[in-house]
Amino acid sequence: MYTEDPKTNSSQETEEEQYALDDARRVKVLSPSMMVFKRFVRNKLAIVGFIILVIMFTFSFIGPLFSPYSIAQLFTHDSYEWKTYATGRYNTDPNYMIAEGEEFPAGARSQFLLAVSGKTGGKTLEIGDTVPFEYNKTNYTVTVLDIRGGKPVYSIGSARFVASALLGKINKIDPEFDTPEIREALTARAADKKAKETTLKAGDYTFNISTVAKETVFELAGEESVLVAYDTFLPLEKEYEPLTKSFAFVKKVYEAAGNNESSFEYDGKTFEVQETESETELLVGGTPVMLVSDIAFGTYQVGTELSSDFLIQTSDAIRTNTVNFSFVNSQGEDTNARINLVNGNYYVETAQKTQLLMVTEPPSKEHLLGTDLYGMDLITRLMYGGRVSLMVGFVVIFFETFLGVILGGISGYFGGWTDTLLMRLVDLVNAIPFYPTIIIIGSILDHLKVGATARLFLLMVVIGILGWTGIARVVRGQILSLREQDFMVATEATGIRTSRRIFRHLVPNVMPLLIVNATMGLGGVILLEATLGFLGLGVKYPMASWGSIINQATDMHVMTTAWWIWIPAGALILTTVLGFNFVGDGLRDAFDPKMKR
């Protein structure tokens, strides 16, 4: 009777107007979607949920447009860090300085060390003492040049063979020395069995004599070619740096120091020597140019140049055990430094400007929710994370619904063996344990190093494949009951195609149920995705998702000290899922008039 058009009864129009339904009223009363909408709007919880969702969508999809930062932008700040600038160390091993073109093999070194430590018979060496030793049929002579800080400076010279005599007769002689005068003197000395002097003067030379068994060997003390000292030569002026490597110069310094001379000349310059207990300062014209010290310095960073002031101040600080001191660096800047002593190494640390990642910064004006463990802006990450979480939710639900409707629809409509087969398939998929599968797939994806985006899509597909059964069951159940109803008999009678019957006549009737299921399921999928993210199986850097942000809270330190990292992310998940559930609940009530007030 509603279909009666009031316009055809124009005479009764005025009387019946208030009773009859005009178009507007009829729509109000009859349109099912309008009814659902009205019921939905009346439900306060559903509206709250809807508002939550609108806010979340705005936050996630429009928010990033207003965020001044990008998704994986790292934030750094300048800060002063104590960093090792240089190291200093007392020389505990001797330095060997070998004259140009000479050799001092490793074996000779050990023989030398044995000689100076063992053969002195416990007496301390003094300046001018000599100790002989032999290595590889060459005789060497060690002379003490100086004693510095309790440690001697040695000069080593190798001997030059002159002649040897067996049983008082000369059997070998260097032709250079083969003069009658020398020969005579040597023979006399070789024949004299009682003579004990170890040196012999003959002609212009002084020969060293050694006797091995019955052979007497005459040698000439050779040029000194090796200097052994516990010192380092530190140039204070750059132009003097080559001198520190000059054997002759170094030897000259030690000779001067050993003879307590106040100055010496080298290469046309006069060097003044100022000696303290363990240091020697060399001055030219009153300016210090070189420091001879038992502390060796090394740079720690590439490109560091140690200034002369650094060398002087640091040596002072190390000797006086001062921790904090300051020096002028090679750029002429005043620098504060401190010394850190570790295992005999003095680490000179200076405060240096460095860029630090702003990790776990508490909320501030620039970063409303602070920064996370990797120095990224959290609120921006949350916005982009929301995109991923919501998108995953929608795609998965769409996929699940699609599969569920097709398979459930076919199963419900055809029944029989199709139904049995499909329902067994549903059981089979249901029997697959969800988390074990996901964890194993996640590990495989990790191993294959799948990119972040591909991984996300694979994950969605897997969740969809494992999750469509619920919807399929619901659809099948609903269609089973709808199939028997009269309107379906009518469609059959009118000869409508099967696919049309299913998807035009049956599925729309299942729509309300599907919408409710999908809405509630969306929350579920978002939760699931968050859980996977939390387990570290979800999206990976540089992408973000709410779950993977909370993942950082598995670190106890982050959990206890940086609440802003995980509490807001969790709250977002909670409210979003709650929003979906409220809306889903409201929709269910709205679609289902039986349960109405």
């Binding site: 919880l45 344990p433 074990p436 599968t437 797939i441 590990s443 909370i550 899922v577 609940d585």
Partner: protein
């Protein structure tokens, strides 16, 4: 009824577990090592034959040794399962005690403030991510307030305690995990109870009962509640796999050595025997829960028995 054996060959897990194991070996060792390990672990055969071999052993109850725990799978399982069961039984009891009365209350006073409060609470519980709730509880009750232990099952002094103290200690340690699990599962059951109660309350026989002038308590308890039991039982039987399967995430966060955590650790390290065992175990549980649901249906609903 659906048989477990049939679902096994088509399951993805076996295949993936195998591929995964092969890949971890390849990543970590040299080729000789790989071959050697494969031989030792019986991974040198093809996926299908390997699976058949495994299946033949599994049917005889021989699940092999866990790679991670270096002990027979079943032994590891026996040690860990009871912690999970204990935790879940407490949770389960708590859940029933809280949810059913609240659900009924909400249904009786539909659209009242109580109903809204219960609905919001239930939905909030459903919407809580388990890890978030667990972390929140840990943060506020353990870290901030210091009332409960952060994780673990037993305290430091456990070994020197008397039996009663031991029980107390374990329960004390289980408080937070159980609270987490209970809060997570409360929502679903509460809503389910409410919906079913509403359905029953709108039936004719309830109207009749009220018309007869029966006291409201009798109407609710005798007429309505008994009839809501039928769907409730089916719902509760679905909780069985959860109960024995362990709560992976909660156990992991609170470091309870239950089956969930043990299985999770085994799976992320690619321990095939254990992962396989766990998967089969869950499948069997699912099937058993279906059978139990059917049996319980018959118990609570005489109509089913007659049929």
């Amino acid at each position: 009824m659906y048989s477990i054996i049939r679902c096994l060959p088509a399951s993805y897990i076996e295949k993936m577990a195998r591929q995964f194991a092969a890949s971890t070996n390849g990543r970590k060792t040299y080729q000789e090592w790989l071959a050697e390990l494969n031989r030792v672990y019986g991974m040198d055969s093809s996926i299908l034959s390997g699976f058949l071999k495994w299946g033949a052993n599994a049917i005889r109850g021989n699940f092999g040794d866990s790679w991670k725990y270096m002990r027979p799978v079943t032994e590891v399982f026996r040690e860990s399962i009871w912690w999970s069961v204990l935790m879940n039984v407490i949770t389960f009891a708590l859940e029933i005690v809280i949810c059913i009365p609240l659900g009924i209350l909400a249904a009786r006073k539909q659209y009242s403030k109580t109903d809204y409060a219960v609905t919001v609470f239930a939905l909030a519980c459903i919407s809580l991510p388990s890890f978030y709730l667990a972390t929140l509880l840990k943060y506020f009750l353990s870290v901030k307030a210091g009332i409960f232990p952060l994780y673990g099952l037993t305290g430091r002094m456990y070994n020197s305690m008397t039996t009663m103290q031991k029980v107390g200690d374990v329960l004390y340690h289980l408080f937070l995990p159980v609270l987490t699990l209970a809060m997570l599962s409360i929502g679903g059951l509460m809503r389910y109870t409410r919906t079913n109660m509403l359905e029953v309350l709108s039936t004719d026989y309830i109207r009749t009962a009220r018309a007869k002038g029966l006291p409201e308590s009798v109407v609710i308890n005798k007429h309505a509640f008994r009839n809501t039991l039928i769907p409730l039982v089916s719902y509760l039987s679905y909780l069985l796999p959860n109960m024995f399967g362990g709560a992976m995430i909660t156990e992991e966060i609170f470091q309870i050595p239950g089956i969930g955590r043990i299985a999770y650790q085994a799976m992320i390290t690619g321990d095939i025997p254990f992962a396989m065992f766990y998967a089969v175990f869950l499948m069997i549980l699912t099937q058993i829960s279906l059978i139990i649901a059917d049996i319980l249906y018959a118990v609570v609903d005489p109509r089913v028995r007659i049929n």
